[in-house]
Amino acid sequence: MIQMFQVSKVYSNQNKALDQINLHIDKGEFVFLVGPSGAGKTTLMRLIFRDEVPSSGSILIDGRNIERLSAGAIPYLRRSIGVVFQDFKLLQDKSAWENVAFALRVVEAPPHEIEIRTNQALDMMGLGHKKHHLPSELSGGEQQRVCIARALVNDPAILLTDEPTGNLDPELGYEIMKVLLDINSRGTTVLVATHDASLVNRLQRRVLHLRNGKIVKDSLRGTYHHDEI
Protein backbone atom coordinates (compact mmCIF):
# COMPACT_ATOMS: atom_id res chain seq x y z
CA MET A 1 0.00 0.00 0.00
CA ILE A 2 2.83 2.42 0.95
CA GLN A 3 6.30 1.88 -0.45
CA MET A 4 9.35 4.12 -0.20
CA PHE A 5 12.62 3.60 -2.03
CA GLN A 6 15.72 5.52 -0.97
CA VAL A 7 13.61 8.50 0.02
CA SER A 8 15.44 11.55 1.34
CA LYS A 9 14.02 14.90 2.22
CA VAL A 10 16.17 17.98 2.58
CA TYR A 11 14.31 21.17 3.44
CA SER A 12 15.32 24.44 1.85
CA ASN A 13 17.36 25.37 4.93
CA GLN A 14 19.54 22.27 4.35
CA ASN A 15 17.84 20.41 7.19
CA LYS A 16 18.03 16.76 6.29
CA ALA A 17 14.72 15.53 7.68
CA LEU A 18 14.74 12.09 6.07
CA ASP A 19 17.75 10.10 4.93
CA GLN A 20 17.52 7.18 2.51
CA ILE A 21 14.30 5.69 3.82
CA ASN A 22 13.23 2.28 2.53
CA LEU A 23 9.81 1.25 3.70
CA HIS A 24 7.03 -1.14 2.87
CA ILE A 25 3.64 -1.03 4.55
CA ASP A 26 0.98 -3.51 3.46
CA LYS A 27 -2.70 -2.92 3.08
CA GLY A 28 -4.48 -3.25 6.40
CA GLU A 29 -1.41 -2.83 8.59
CA PHE A 30 -1.35 -0.81 11.80
CA VAL A 31 2.00 0.92 12.23
CA PHE A 32 3.42 3.13 14.95
CA LEU A 33 5.99 5.70 13.94
CA VAL A 34 8.13 6.60 16.93
CA GLY A 35 11.29 8.54 17.60
CA PRO A 36 12.55 11.67 19.29
CA SER A 37 11.41 15.12 18.34
CA GLY A 38 12.83 16.13 14.99
CA ALA A 39 13.37 12.53 13.89
CA GLY A 40 11.25 13.07 10.78
CA LYS A 41 7.89 11.49 11.67
CA THR A 42 5.76 14.37 10.48
CA THR A 43 7.88 14.79 7.38
CA LEU A 44 7.36 11.15 6.47
CA MET A 45 3.60 11.55 6.71
CA ARG A 46 3.59 14.76 4.70
CA LEU A 47 5.44 12.97 1.93
CA ILE A 48 2.76 10.28 1.86
CA PHE A 49 -0.11 12.66 1.21
CA ARG A 50 2.11 14.75 -1.01
CA ASP A 51 2.09 17.84 1.11
CA GLU A 52 5.80 17.72 0.38
CA VAL A 53 7.80 16.04 -2.37
CA PRO A 54 10.91 13.97 -1.64
CA SER A 55 14.29 15.47 -2.55
CA SER A 56 15.27 12.08 -3.95
CA GLY A 57 13.92 8.56 -4.09
CA SER A 58 10.41 7.49 -4.98
CA ILE A 59 7.16 6.85 -3.17
CA LEU A 60 4.44 4.49 -4.33
CA ILE A 61 0.95 4.63 -2.93
CA ASP A 62 -1.22 1.73 -4.00
CA GLY A 63 1.35 1.01 -6.71
CA ARG A 64 1.28 4.54 -8.11
CA ASN A 65 4.34 6.72 -8.17
CA ILE A 66 3.21 9.94 -6.52
CA GLU A 67 6.06 12.33 -7.29
CA ARG A 68 5.02 12.22 -10.94
CA LEU A 69 1.44 13.13 -10.10
CA SER A 70 0.14 16.18 -11.96
CA ALA A 71 -1.19 19.09 -9.90
CA GLY A 72 -4.70 18.16 -10.97
CA ALA A 73 -4.36 14.59 -9.70
CA ILE A 74 -3.11 15.47 -6.21
CA PRO A 75 -6.58 16.18 -4.74
CA TYR A 76 -7.70 12.72 -5.80
CA LEU A 77 -4.73 11.11 -4.05
CA ARG A 78 -5.64 13.03 -0.91
CA ARG A 79 -9.21 11.78 -1.04
CA SER A 80 -7.86 8.27 -0.53
CA ILE A 81 -5.82 9.36 2.49
CA GLY A 82 -7.32 10.59 5.75
CA VAL A 83 -5.10 12.87 7.83
CA VAL A 84 -5.39 13.76 11.52
CA PHE A 85 -3.10 16.30 13.14
CA GLN A 86 -2.17 16.98 16.68
CA ASP A 87 -3.42 20.54 16.44
CA PHE A 88 -6.83 19.39 15.15
CA LYS A 89 -7.26 21.93 12.36
CA LEU A 90 -10.99 22.26 12.93
CA LEU A 91 -12.97 25.24 11.70
CA GLN A 92 -13.82 27.10 14.89
CA ASP A 93 -16.96 28.76 13.58
CA LYS A 94 -18.53 25.54 12.35
CA SER A 95 -20.23 22.78 14.31
CA ALA A 96 -18.76 19.30 14.68
CA TRP A 97 -21.25 18.12 12.08
CA GLU A 98 -20.31 20.87 9.60
CA ASN A 99 -16.62 20.17 10.12
CA VAL A 100 -17.07 16.54 9.18
CA ALA A 101 -19.50 17.28 6.34
CA PHE A 102 -16.93 19.73 4.98
CA ALA A 103 -14.75 16.86 3.76
CA LEU A 104 -17.71 15.55 1.76
CA ARG A 105 -18.76 18.91 0.35
CA VAL A 106 -15.29 19.38 -0.96
CA VAL A 107 -15.55 16.17 -2.99
CA GLU A 108 -19.02 17.24 -4.14
CA ALA A 109 -20.93 14.37 -2.59
CA PRO A 110 -24.71 14.59 -3.06
CA PRO A 111 -26.55 16.18 -0.09
CA HIS A 112 -28.37 13.06 1.09
CA GLU A 113 -25.09 11.18 1.11
CA ILE A 114 -23.42 13.98 3.07
CA GLU A 115 -26.23 13.72 5.60
CA ILE A 116 -25.98 9.94 6.01
CA ARG A 117 -22.23 9.57 5.99
CA THR A 118 -21.55 12.50 8.31
CA ASN A 119 -23.98 11.12 10.87
CA GLN A 120 -22.45 7.65 10.53
CA ALA A 121 -18.91 8.92 11.05
CA LEU A 122 -19.92 10.97 14.11
CA ASP A 123 -21.90 8.06 15.58
CA MET A 124 -18.94 5.78 15.09
CA MET A 125 -16.80 8.23 17.07
CA GLY A 126 -19.47 8.33 19.78
CA LEU A 127 -20.26 11.97 19.08
CA GLY A 128 -23.78 11.61 17.73
CA HIS A 129 -25.19 13.59 20.64
CA LYS A 130 -22.72 16.46 20.28
CA LYS A 131 -22.86 17.03 16.58
CA HIS A 132 -24.18 20.57 16.84
CA HIS A 133 -21.48 21.70 19.25
CA LEU A 134 -18.77 24.08 18.16
CA PRO A 135 -15.18 22.86 18.60
CA SER A 136 -14.76 25.29 21.50
CA GLU A 137 -17.61 23.51 23.27
CA LEU A 138 -15.91 20.11 23.01
CA SER A 139 -13.14 18.54 25.08
CA GLY A 140 -9.73 17.79 23.58
CA GLY A 141 -10.56 14.13 23.12
CA GLU A 142 -13.87 14.97 21.49
CA GLN A 143 -12.23 17.43 19.13
CA GLN A 144 -9.70 14.78 18.20
CA ARG A 145 -12.55 12.38 17.45
CA VAL A 146 -14.20 15.00 15.23
CA CYS A 147 -10.93 15.16 13.31
CA ILE A 148 -10.85 11.41 12.99
CA ALA A 149 -14.47 11.40 11.82
CA ARG A 150 -13.56 13.99 9.20
CA ALA A 151 -10.58 11.94 8.08
CA LEU A 152 -12.72 8.81 7.82
CA VAL A 153 -15.88 10.15 6.29
CA ASN A 154 -14.49 9.76 2.77
CA ASP A 155 -13.68 6.12 3.52
CA PRO A 156 -9.96 6.44 2.81
CA ALA A 157 -7.66 3.48 2.22
CA ILE A 158 -4.99 5.04 4.44
CA LEU A 159 -5.34 6.95 7.70
CA LEU A 160 -2.39 9.07 8.83
CA THR A 161 -2.52 10.37 12.37
CA ASP A 162 0.20 12.64 13.70
CA GLU A 163 0.37 12.50 17.50
CA PRO A 164 -3.37 11.90 17.86
CA THR A 165 -3.03 11.55 21.61
CA GLY A 166 -0.42 14.22 22.08
CA ASN A 167 -2.33 16.55 24.34
CA LEU A 168 -4.81 14.11 25.84
CA ASP A 169 -4.61 12.45 29.23
CA PRO A 170 -3.52 8.77 29.12
CA GLU A 171 -7.00 7.26 29.44
CA LEU A 172 -8.42 9.46 26.69
CA GLY A 173 -5.35 8.63 24.63
CA TYR A 174 -6.07 4.97 25.02
CA GLU A 175 -9.70 5.54 23.99
CA ILE A 176 -8.56 7.23 20.79
CA MET A 177 -6.14 4.38 20.13
CA LYS A 178 -8.98 1.87 20.47
CA VAL A 179 -10.96 3.84 17.92
CA LEU A 180 -8.00 3.72 15.54
CA LEU A 181 -7.64 -0.03 16.06
CA ASP A 182 -11.32 -0.41 15.33
CA ILE A 183 -10.91 1.53 12.08
CA ASN A 184 -7.92 -0.63 11.23
CA SER A 185 -9.90 -3.80 11.82
CA ARG A 186 -12.26 -2.68 9.03
CA GLY A 187 -9.39 -2.78 6.56
CA THR A 188 -7.96 0.74 6.64
CA THR A 189 -4.18 1.01 6.74
CA VAL A 190 -3.35 3.12 9.79
CA LEU A 191 -0.14 5.01 10.53
CA VAL A 192 0.26 6.64 13.94
CA ALA A 193 3.14 8.96 14.79
CA THR A 194 3.55 9.19 18.54
CA HIS A 195 5.82 9.94 21.48
CA ASP A 196 3.62 7.95 23.80
CA ALA A 197 5.69 4.89 24.79
CA SER A 198 3.13 3.44 27.17
CA LEU A 199 0.46 3.30 24.48
CA VAL A 200 2.83 1.70 22.00
CA ASN A 201 3.85 -0.92 24.51
CA ARG A 202 0.30 -1.65 25.51
CA LEU A 203 -0.86 -2.32 21.94
CA GLN A 204 1.98 -4.50 20.64
CA ARG A 205 1.83 -3.53 16.99
CA ARG A 206 4.43 -2.94 14.31
CA VAL A 207 6.76 -0.14 15.39
CA LEU A 208 9.01 1.91 13.09
CA HIS A 209 11.76 3.75 14.97
CA LEU A 210 13.03 6.91 13.34
CA ARG A 211 16.09 8.80 14.46
CA ASN A 212 17.81 11.62 12.61
CA GLY A 213 15.80 10.83 9.52
CA LYS A 214 16.73 7.16 9.37
CA ILE A 215 14.75 4.03 10.24
CA VAL A 216 16.83 2.50 13.00
CA LYS A 217 14.49 -0.31 14.00
CA ASP A 218 11.43 -1.96 12.51
CA SER A 219 9.79 -4.53 14.80
CA LEU A 220 6.60 -6.44 14.17
CA ARG A 221 5.29 -6.65 17.72
CA GLY A 222 7.30 -3.78 18.93
CA THR A 223 7.85 -1.82 22.05
CA TYR A 224 9.31 1.60 22.50
CA HIS A 225 11.36 3.08 25.31
CA HIS A 226 12.52 6.64 25.22
CA ASP A 227 16.03 5.71 26.27
CA GLU A 228 16.48 2.85 23.83
CA ILE A 229 18.91 3.00 20.90
Partner: protein, 294 residues
Protein backbone atom coordinates in the same frame (compact mmCIF):
# COMPACT_ATOMS: atom_id res chain seq x y z
CA UNK B 1 -18.78 20.32 -14.39
CA UNK B 2 -19.56 21.63 -10.97
CA UNK B 3 -22.73 20.37 -9.38
CA UNK B 4 -25.59 22.70 -8.62
CA UNK B 5 -25.41 22.08 -4.87
CA UNK B 6 -21.76 22.95 -4.92
CA UNK B 7 -22.53 26.18 -6.74
CA UNK B 8 -25.11 27.05 -4.12
CA UNK B 9 -22.59 26.27 -1.39
CA UNK B 10 -19.95 28.46 -3.03
CA UNK B 11 -22.46 31.22 -3.52
CA UNK B 12 -23.25 31.22 0.22
CA UNK B 13 -19.54 31.21 0.98
CA UNK B 14 -18.93 34.18 -1.27
CA UNK B 15 -21.82 36.09 0.30
CA UNK B 16 -20.24 35.38 3.66
CA UNK B 17 -16.94 36.65 2.32
CA UNK B 18 -18.76 39.78 1.25
CA UNK B 19 -20.09 40.33 4.75
CA UNK B 20 -16.78 39.54 6.34
CA UNK B 21 -14.79 42.02 4.28
CA UNK B 22 -17.44 44.69 5.01
CA UNK B 23 -15.93 48.09 4.48
CA UNK B 24 -13.36 46.79 2.03
CA UNK B 25 -16.11 45.27 -0.08
CA UNK B 26 -17.96 48.60 -0.03
CA UNK B 27 -14.83 50.44 -1.09
CA UNK B 28 -14.29 47.95 -3.88
CA UNK B 29 -17.82 48.19 -5.16
CA UNK B 30 -17.65 51.99 -5.05
CA UNK B 31 -14.44 52.02 -7.06
CA UNK B 32 -15.85 49.67 -9.65
CA UNK B 33 -19.05 51.70 -9.76
CA UNK B 34 -17.14 54.98 -10.20
CA UNK B 35 -14.95 53.52 -12.94
CA UNK B 36 -17.86 52.07 -14.84
CA UNK B 37 -19.86 55.26 -14.37
CA UNK B 38 -17.12 57.36 -15.90
CA UNK B 39 -16.70 54.85 -18.68
CA UNK B 40 -20.45 54.89 -19.25
CA UNK B 41 -20.46 58.70 -19.31
CA UNK B 42 -17.75 58.63 -21.94
CA UNK B 43 -19.66 56.12 -23.99
CA UNK B 44 -22.77 58.28 -23.79
CA UNK B 45 -20.83 61.39 -24.75
CA UNK B 46 -19.19 59.56 -27.60
CA UNK B 47 -22.49 58.08 -28.75
CA UNK B 48 -24.08 61.52 -28.79
CA UNK B 49 -21.20 63.04 -30.74
CA UNK B 50 -21.49 60.25 -33.26
CA UNK B 51 -25.19 60.90 -33.52
CA UNK B 52 -24.46 64.55 -34.14
CA UNK B 53 -22.04 63.45 -36.81
CA UNK B 54 -24.70 61.36 -38.52
CA UNK B 55 -26.81 64.47 -38.73
CA UNK B 56 -23.92 66.42 -40.16
CA UNK B 57 -23.38 64.03 -43.00
CA UNK B 58 -24.60 66.53 -45.57
CA UNK B 59 -21.95 68.94 -44.34
CA UNK B 60 -19.10 66.58 -44.87
CA UNK B 61 -18.28 67.85 -48.32
CA UNK B 62 -14.92 68.66 -49.91
CA UNK B 63 -14.72 70.63 -53.16
CA UNK B 64 -11.73 70.28 -55.45
CA UNK B 65 -11.33 73.03 -58.07
CA UNK B 66 -9.55 71.83 -61.19
CA UNK B 67 -7.04 73.80 -63.23
CA UNK B 68 -8.31 74.66 -66.69
CA UNK B 69 -5.60 72.65 -68.36
CA UNK B 70 -6.49 69.36 -66.66
CA UNK B 71 -6.64 66.50 -69.16
CA UNK B 72 -9.34 63.81 -69.41
CA UNK B 73 -6.78 61.21 -68.34
CA UNK B 74 -5.74 63.15 -65.22
CA UNK B 75 -9.36 63.58 -64.22
CA UNK B 76 -10.24 59.93 -64.67
CA UNK B 77 -7.17 58.89 -62.66
CA UNK B 78 -8.24 61.25 -59.89
CA UNK B 79 -11.71 59.71 -59.88
CA UNK B 80 -10.33 56.17 -59.84
CA UNK B 81 -8.40 57.21 -56.72
CA UNK B 82 -11.56 58.53 -55.06
CA UNK B 83 -13.39 55.30 -55.74
CA UNK B 84 -10.74 53.41 -53.78
CA UNK B 85 -11.20 55.57 -50.67
CA UNK B 86 -13.39 53.95 -47.99
CA UNK B 87 -14.29 57.35 -46.52
CA UNK B 88 -15.82 58.56 -49.78
CA UNK B 89 -19.55 58.19 -49.80
CA UNK B 90 -20.36 59.92 -53.05
CA UNK B 91 -18.91 62.41 -55.53
CA UNK B 92 -20.16 64.66 -58.26
CA UNK B 93 -18.46 66.42 -61.17
CA UNK B 94 -19.65 69.89 -61.97
CA UNK B 95 -18.39 71.30 -65.24
CA UNK B 96 -17.53 74.98 -65.78
CA UNK B 97 -20.74 75.48 -67.76
CA UNK B 98 -22.93 73.79 -65.15
CA UNK B 99 -21.26 75.86 -62.46
CA UNK B 100 -22.05 79.04 -64.35
CA UNK B 101 -25.66 77.97 -64.79
CA UNK B 102 -25.91 77.29 -61.09
CA UNK B 103 -24.45 80.66 -60.30
CA UNK B 104 -26.87 82.31 -62.72
CA UNK B 105 -29.76 80.66 -60.94
CA UNK B 106 -28.41 81.72 -57.55
CA UNK B 107 -28.04 85.30 -58.63
CA UNK B 108 -31.50 85.50 -60.14
CA UNK B 109 -32.09 89.05 -61.49
CA UNK B 110 -28.53 90.05 -60.80
CA UNK B 111 -27.33 87.44 -63.27
CA UNK B 112 -27.16 90.13 -65.93
CA UNK B 113 -23.79 90.94 -64.38
CA UNK B 114 -22.52 87.66 -65.81
CA UNK B 115 -23.58 88.48 -69.37
CA UNK B 116 -20.56 90.74 -69.89
CA UNK B 117 -18.03 88.03 -69.18
CA UNK B 118 -15.79 87.28 -72.12
CA UNK B 119 -15.01 83.80 -70.80
CA UNK B 120 -16.28 81.52 -68.02
CA UNK B 121 -14.14 82.23 -64.93
CA UNK B 122 -15.47 79.26 -62.95
CA UNK B 123 -13.41 76.10 -62.64
CA UNK B 124 -14.44 72.52 -63.22
CA UNK B 125 -15.28 71.19 -59.77
CA UNK B 126 -15.34 67.75 -58.15
CA UNK B 127 -17.50 67.69 -55.02
CA UNK B 128 -16.89 64.73 -52.68
CA UNK B 129 -19.25 63.72 -49.88
CA UNK B 130 -17.58 61.80 -47.08
CA UNK B 131 -18.71 59.27 -44.49
CA UNK B 132 -18.32 60.58 -40.92
CA UNK B 133 -14.61 60.69 -40.22
CA UNK B 134 -12.03 62.65 -38.32
CA UNK B 135 -9.79 62.63 -41.36
CA UNK B 136 -11.43 65.29 -43.49
CA UNK B 137 -8.38 67.50 -43.41
CA UNK B 138 -6.00 64.66 -44.21
CA UNK B 139 -8.24 63.55 -47.03
CA UNK B 140 -8.46 67.04 -48.43
CA UNK B 141 -4.72 67.64 -48.22
CA UNK B 142 -3.94 64.32 -49.85
CA UNK B 143 -6.04 65.03 -52.94
CA UNK B 144 -5.33 68.74 -53.11
CA UNK B 145 -1.68 67.86 -53.64
CA UNK B 146 -2.56 66.55 -57.12
CA UNK B 147 -0.96 68.94 -59.66
CA UNK B 148 -4.16 69.40 -61.64
CA UNK B 149 -5.97 70.75 -58.56
CA UNK B 150 -5.96 74.52 -58.36
CA UNK B 151 -7.46 74.77 -54.89
CA UNK B 152 -9.91 73.08 -52.54
CA UNK B 153 -12.46 73.94 -49.90
CA UNK B 154 -14.41 71.99 -47.31
CA UNK B 155 -17.54 72.40 -45.23
CA UNK B 156 -17.88 74.64 -42.25
CA UNK B 157 -15.05 74.87 -39.74
CA UNK B 158 -17.12 73.76 -36.80
CA UNK B 159 -17.74 70.41 -38.43
CA UNK B 160 -14.05 69.81 -38.32
CA UNK B 161 -13.91 71.04 -34.74
CA UNK B 162 -16.54 68.54 -33.69
CA UNK B 163 -14.58 65.85 -35.41
CA UNK B 164 -11.49 66.89 -33.50
CA UNK B 165 -13.46 66.83 -30.28
CA UNK B 166 -14.59 63.29 -31.00
CA UNK B 167 -11.02 62.31 -31.60
CA UNK B 168 -9.88 63.91 -28.36
CA UNK B 169 -12.70 62.24 -26.46
CA UNK B 170 -11.68 58.88 -27.88
CA UNK B 171 -8.03 59.26 -26.94
CA UNK B 172 -8.43 60.76 -23.48
CA UNK B 173 -11.40 58.49 -22.80
CA UNK B 174 -9.32 55.43 -23.58
CA UNK B 175 -6.62 56.63 -21.23
CA UNK B 176 -8.95 57.35 -18.36
CA UNK B 177 -10.91 54.16 -18.84
CA UNK B 178 -7.78 52.02 -18.92
CA UNK B 179 -6.46 53.75 -15.83
CA UNK B 180 -9.70 53.31 -13.91
CA UNK B 181 -9.98 49.72 -15.09
CA UNK B 182 -6.55 48.99 -13.67
CA UNK B 183 -7.45 50.69 -10.41
CA UNK B 184 -10.58 48.55 -10.17
CA UNK B 185 -8.62 45.40 -10.86
CA UNK B 186 -6.12 46.33 -8.20
CA UNK B 187 -8.67 47.02 -5.52
CA UNK B 188 -10.76 43.95 -6.32
CA UNK B 189 -7.73 41.71 -6.14
CA UNK B 190 -6.74 43.32 -2.86
CA UNK B 191 -10.14 42.72 -1.32
CA UNK B 192 -10.17 39.12 -2.45
CA UNK B 193 -6.71 38.71 -1.02
CA UNK B 194 -8.04 39.78 2.36
CA UNK B 195 -10.83 37.25 2.11
CA UNK B 196 -8.37 34.55 1.16
CA UNK B 197 -6.29 35.50 4.17
CA UNK B 198 -9.30 35.41 6.48
CA UNK B 199 -10.14 31.95 5.20
CA UNK B 200 -6.63 30.52 5.10
CA UNK B 201 -7.38 27.82 7.70
CA UNK B 202 -10.37 26.72 5.73
CA UNK B 203 -8.29 26.61 2.56
CA UNK B 204 -5.62 24.56 4.30
CA UNK B 205 -8.23 22.05 5.40
CA UNK B 206 -9.81 21.98 1.96
CA UNK B 207 -6.50 20.99 0.46
CA UNK B 208 -6.02 18.43 3.18
CA UNK B 209 -9.26 16.66 2.39
CA UNK B 210 -8.70 16.71 -1.34
CA UNK B 211 -10.47 19.77 -2.74
CA UNK B 212 -9.49 20.55 -6.31
CA UNK B 213 -7.92 23.94 -6.95
CA UNK B 214 -10.99 25.07 -8.86
CA UNK B 215 -13.21 24.13 -5.95
CA UNK B 216 -11.05 26.22 -3.66
CA UNK B 217 -10.99 29.16 -6.05
CA UNK B 218 -14.67 29.21 -6.90
CA UNK B 219 -16.06 31.13 -3.92
CA UNK B 220 -13.37 33.79 -4.31
CA UNK B 221 -14.03 34.13 -8.01
CA UNK B 222 -17.72 34.43 -7.26
CA UNK B 223 -17.05 37.06 -4.66
CA UNK B 224 -15.06 39.07 -7.21
CA UNK B 225 -17.79 38.70 -9.78
CA UNK B 226 -20.46 39.72 -7.27
CA UNK B 227 -18.49 42.86 -6.49
CA UNK B 228 -18.16 43.57 -10.20
CA UNK B 229 -21.89 43.07 -10.73
CA UNK B 230 -22.80 45.25 -7.75
CA UNK B 231 -20.51 47.99 -9.06
CA UNK B 232 -22.02 47.73 -12.53
CA UNK B 233 -25.58 47.91 -11.18
CA UNK B 234 -24.84 51.01 -9.14
CA UNK B 235 -23.09 52.62 -12.10
CA UNK B 236 -26.04 51.84 -14.36
CA UNK B 237 -28.56 53.21 -11.90
CA UNK B 238 -26.69 56.47 -11.47
CA UNK B 239 -26.02 56.83 -15.18
CA UNK B 240 -29.57 56.10 -16.23
CA UNK B 241 -30.88 58.57 -13.69
CA UNK B 242 -28.25 61.22 -14.41
CA UNK B 243 -28.54 60.93 -18.16
CA UNK B 244 -32.30 61.16 -18.01
CA UNK B 245 -32.01 64.36 -16.00
CA UNK B 246 -29.37 65.82 -18.31
CA UNK B 247 -31.46 64.97 -21.34
CA UNK B 248 -34.45 66.85 -19.95
CA UNK B 249 -32.34 69.90 -19.15
CA UNK B 250 -30.61 70.01 -22.51
CA UNK B 251 -33.84 69.58 -24.43
CA UNK B 252 -35.37 72.38 -22.41
CA UNK B 253 -32.69 74.77 -23.68
CA UNK B 254 -32.04 73.25 -27.11
CA UNK B 255 -35.30 71.70 -28.19
CA UNK B 256 -33.89 70.79 -31.60
CA UNK B 257 -31.00 68.79 -30.19
CA UNK B 258 -31.01 65.12 -31.19
CA UNK B 259 -29.72 63.03 -28.29
CA UNK B 260 -28.99 59.35 -27.94
CA UNK B 261 -32.26 58.16 -26.50
CA UNK B 262 -33.37 54.95 -28.13
CA UNK B 263 -34.03 52.27 -25.52
CA UNK B 264 -32.12 49.69 -27.54
CA UNK B 265 -28.97 51.81 -27.69
CA UNK B 266 -29.05 52.63 -24.01
CA UNK B 267 -29.74 49.06 -22.94
CA UNK B 268 -26.87 47.89 -25.09
CA UNK B 269 -24.60 50.41 -23.39
CA UNK B 270 -25.68 49.33 -19.91
CA UNK B 271 -25.20 45.69 -20.82
CA UNK B 272 -21.67 46.52 -21.88
CA UNK B 273 -21.02 48.03 -18.46
CA UNK B 274 -22.55 44.99 -16.80
CA UNK B 275 -20.32 42.52 -18.62
CA UNK B 276 -17.34 44.74 -18.04
CA UNK B 277 -18.12 44.65 -14.32
CA UNK B 278 -18.21 40.85 -14.41
CA UNK B 279 -14.96 40.75 -16.35
CA UNK B 280 -13.28 43.15 -13.90
CA UNK B 281 -14.43 41.05 -10.93
CA UNK B 282 -13.31 37.80 -12.49
CA UNK B 283 -9.95 39.16 -13.56
CA UNK B 284 -9.34 40.92 -10.26
CA UNK B 285 -9.98 37.81 -8.21
CA UNK B 286 -7.95 35.64 -10.56
CA UNK B 287 -5.08 38.07 -10.10
CA UNK B 288 -5.14 37.68 -6.34
CA UNK B 289 -5.65 33.91 -6.47
CA UNK B 290 -2.70 33.48 -8.76
CA UNK B 291 -0.55 34.60 -5.86
CA UNK B 292 -2.26 32.58 -3.18
CA UNK B 293 -3.36 29.34 -4.73
CA UNK B 294 -1.05 27.83 -7.25
Amino acid sequence: MMKFNTLVYHFRQSLNGFKRSGIMAMATISTVAASLMILGAFLLFHGNLNLLLQNLQGQLKVNFYLKDGASEREISEFIQGLKQEPVVRDFEIISKADALDLLRKDLGEDSVLLDNLSRNPLPNTITVTLHPTEEIRAFREKYAANPMIESSSSGKDWVEQILNLIHLAKVSGTFIVVFLGLASLFIISNTIRLTVFARRHEIEIMRLVGATNWFIRSPFLMEGVLQGIAGALIATLFLAFGYGLLQDRLLMFFPELKLLSSQADLIQLYLKLFFLGIALGLLGSLLSLRKFLV
